[in-house]
């Protein structure tokens, strides 16, 4: 139970121990070996024997796995593997499993894990062939069978949480990648089409869902989360399997994986209900894996946005962007840094769209970064028709890579192809279109406390009837479901605009909400900062005095 935090952290405070630090192992013994190896060595052909550091790495890696030395495994996984990749395999695949099998006593479990790394590396550096895609899929089946079907006995494997997250994340990514590959029938050879026909099971949506649902069910992660929320015994709730870190983490990551799959398929309601036992903003147990934490917020925020719950989406994005901006320096040397930067950038783009659709105050720091990155877009999006192209641009940059779950008709050389990305974009933009004039209307209303409809129509160069319709649109669109407490999908319909108005016959009466000065927040933050300084000084003072 040691890994369960006994307290909740202030939202504003981020502690180093909340973040899985990928760089703490930088100076493990292995680094020296890698760096000592001359880079001037001629390029080896894959048939030739392995470079010595690689062979040594693999045997030691295997030993740590057998000894269940999670700490060392973590270092090997996060650092050594990436360093060797940079050195030897930046443009070619790692050696295939057969050629290294003798180094690890033909250990089947290790070879499955090795292949997972092998394919993941291949996907990220090279262009996977159809055979690679099938090979990787089969390997994931082996891996999950090994974990899920070990005849009632729990699997004794112990892996670092980061690795487990990467496995689920990659599994969903490769599923998505396959769906995108499959849809492009035209540039496939006949042999490839034949192979696709023979293997309808490969990356089939049902099989992928089955894996994720099975991991969730076996780990009893939902039961554990309920127990966690109610202060109950999560180990008891998890049962024999779920109380083991391997299953608990895989179960949780599968919830996030499922959230993502549902979003990729455009099923936002189901995406949110998948997370019904996860509380947003709850730090601790699962937020340590930053990539998982960020992914969770990205997809929840995105689902909210597509459900027209802009206010909730803004809260999600602002919250996680705040977290990222304060912890980014921990990750600057991590292999995940690029992903973190890109996802943040995408979320700033989504956030700026949400703020145009539902203006509200956000954290000042986030607002400044937003203005820096997307200031121009932000202004343009408020200019009616002419801003539509900015919405389009930001959406296609920041949206998930939507997919169609069903394969195209392989018998037909020119099948009807459903373009999932276009479809989602079209619906979103249609929604945007229906409220294009709201920002303009808003800018005029803000200037008055009462205003005849006729006069406003004059400003807008429009007819009074159309203006009345636009006022109704304003009201209709600013009514949103807003989350209060409980499951993420719950909430109540409330007016979200800080600009209030009503019509009495043909006159508009207007009032604007004002925000009082926020002082308490500032004081609390500085008191905490001050206390931290004192604590640090106290710690430093003791050894100095005694020496």
């Amino acid at each position: 139970m040691a890994d369960i935090p006994d307290r909740y952290f202030d939202e504003d405070e981020v502690h180093a121990d909340q973040v899985e630090l990928p760089t703490v192992f930088a100076s493990d013994q292995f680094t020296a070996v890698v760096e000592g190896y001359s880079a001037a060595q001629p390029a080896f052909s894959s048939q030739v024997k392995l470079p010595e550091p690689v062979a040594k790495f693999l045997t030691q890696f295997h030993t740590h796995l057998v000894d269940r030395n999670t700490w060392e495994l973590h270092a090997f996984y996060e650092n050594s593997f990436n360093k060797l990749t940079e050195k030897f395999y930046s443009k070619v695949a790692w050696p295939d499993a057969d050629s290294i099998s003798h180094l690890v006593n033909d250990d089947a479990a290790f070879l499955i894990l090795y292949k997972e790394l092998y394919y993941r590396h291949l996907y990220s550096k090279l262009q996977p062939t159809l055979e690679d895609r099938i090979g990787s899929y089969s390997n994931y089946c082996d891996l999950f069978n090994f974990i899920l079907n070990t005849s009632e006995e729990p699997c004794e494997l112990e892996l670092p949480s980061q690795w487990l997250w990467d496995i689920i994340d990659e599994f969903v990514y490769q599923f998505q990648s396959f769906a995108q590959y499959r849809i492009k029938i035209k540039n496939k050879s006949e042999a490839e089409i034949e192979l696709l026909k023979e293997r309808p099971d490969v990356w089939n949506v049902h099989n992928v869902l089955n894996v994720l649902y099975s991991l969730i069910q076996k780990s009893q992660i939902n039961e554990q989360l309920v127990a966690f929320r109610n202060g109950g015994d999560i180990a008891a709730a998890g049962g024999e399997l779920g109380s083991k870190p391997l299953y608990r983490m895989l179960g949780y990551f599968s919830l996030v994986g499922l959230l993502r799959v549902h979003c990729l398929l455009g099923d936002y309601a189901l995406a949110l209900s998948t997370m019904e036992n996860v509380e947003p903003g709850q730090r601790g147990l699962f937020s340590r894996i930053t990539a998982c934490h960020v992914t969770t917020y990205y997809y929840i925020g995105f689902a909210y946005m597509m459900m027209r719950r802009y206010s909730d989406a803004v809260k999600m994005f602002a919250n996680i962007l705040n977290f990222v901006s304060r912890t980014k320096h921990y990750h600057s040397r991590s292999y995940q840094y690029d992903m973190l930067v890109r996802k943040s950038d995408q979320m700033y783009a989504l956030l700026s769209m949400c703020l145009v659709l539902s203006p509200q105050k956000i954290d000042e720091n986030i607002n400044n970064v937003l203005k820096d990155k997307y200031g121009e877009h932000y202004l343009k999006m408020q200019k009616g028709e002419e801003g539509l192209s900015s919405f389009e641009e930001l959406f296609s940059y920041a949206c998930p890579k939507f997919i169609s779950p069903s394969p195209p008709d392989l018998e037909n050389p020119n099948p009807i192809v459903h373009d999932a990305v276009k479809h989602q974009a079209r619906i979103f933009l249609n929604e945007v279109k229906s409220q294009l004039l709201v920002p303009t209307l808003r800018s005029y209303l803000k200037l008055y406390s009462n205003l005849p409809v006729e006069k406003l129509a004059g400003f807008l160069d429009s007819e009074p009837d159309d203006v009345r319709t636009q006022l109704l649109v304003f009201k209709h669109k600013s009514r949103q479901i807003v989350w209060n407490s409980g499951p993420l999908s719950s909430g109540t319909l409330v007016p979200t605009s800080d600009l209030q108005f009503y019509l009495s016959q043909d006159v508009i009466y207007i009032a604007e909400n004002k925000v009082g000065r926020r002082v308490a927040d500032w004081f609390i933050r500085n008191m905490n900062k001050f206390e931290d300084i004192i604590t640090t000084m106290d710690k430093k003072a003791v050894p100095a005095a005694s020496s």
């Binding site: 049902h206 276009k422 319709t469 009201k475 209709h476 009503y502 009495s504 009032a511």
Partner: protein, 228 residues
């Protein structure tokens, strides 16, 4: 989403479990859609589950049922259910005439072009026939959405405008106004209708004060105890 009271156990066991992916349940869920239309008891989760089965098994799609679901979702405005349904459809399904009609009517309602909505319904026999046969309370549900939207926007409105937006006139309109709580003909001018004043249709400037949650203070409190 919580379970609607009207949902039978049999349906519940499908939509709340992985059985929702089983294509053999398509026919049961299709029948349930017809029941929802007839009894005006909308079950969003069940509708979306059926659309998902179509999404996974496009050859099984029944576009008449798709249109029925869209009609139910239209009746559920201001909730964004209609949009949620659209996300799950394939583009080529939108070419179905009945589906296309409903998409168009949805656009009109989202743009609050209420008078245009009623005109469209009047002109398109196919839709009117479909709703009057299968979904008797369709018009009433849409009218309810329009009424709440008007209620958020107006404190008084002319009867003429109300007639146009609600597609009611004369005695029908009078009865309808009487049936709504707080609505009534203006005492001084009988060409106007007064709407109840609620939190939605007022213009009172509010100063938003910051709230301090107890949790924000836990750290400070913890430290003050250590200090003693």
């Amino acid at each position: 989403m919580s379970r609607p009271e009207s949902r039978p156990e049999e349906i519940h066991l499908i939509v709340e479990t992985v059985d929702r992916y089983n294509p053999q349940n398509i026919s049961v869920l299709e029948e349930y859609v017809a029941t929802q239309l007839a009894s005006n008891q909308y079950d969003r989760t069940a509708c979306l589950a059926l659309l998902k089965l179509y999404q996974f098994n496009p050859s099984e799609v029944n576009l008449y049922v798709v249109a029925s679901i869209l009609a139910l979702a239209l009746g559920a405005l201001p909730e964004s259910d209609f949009t949620l349904c659209l996300y799950l459809l394939r583009e080529d399904w939108l070419e179905d005439p009945l589906v296309a009609h409903l998409v168009h009517m949805h656009n009109l309602l989202e743009q609050t072009k209420f008078a245009a909505f009623w005109r469209y319904l009047e002109e398109e026999d196919a839709v009117r026939e479909f709703t009057s046969n299968d979904y008797p309370l369709f018009e009433e549900n849409v009218r309810e959405f329009i009424a709440t939207t008007l209620g958020m926007t107006f404190q008084t409105i002319s009867i003429e405008r109300l007639e146009e937006m609600l597609d009611l006139s004369g005695e029908d309109l009078g009865d309808w106004v009487k049936s709504r709580e707080g609505w009534g003909v203006n005492a001084d001018d009988d060409s106007l209708v007064d709407l109840p004043v609620t939190a939605w249709n007022q213009a009172r400037s509010v100063v938003v004060q910051e709230d301090i949650r107890f949790e924000q203070l836990t750290k400070i409190l913890a430290r003050s105890r250590v200090a003693q």
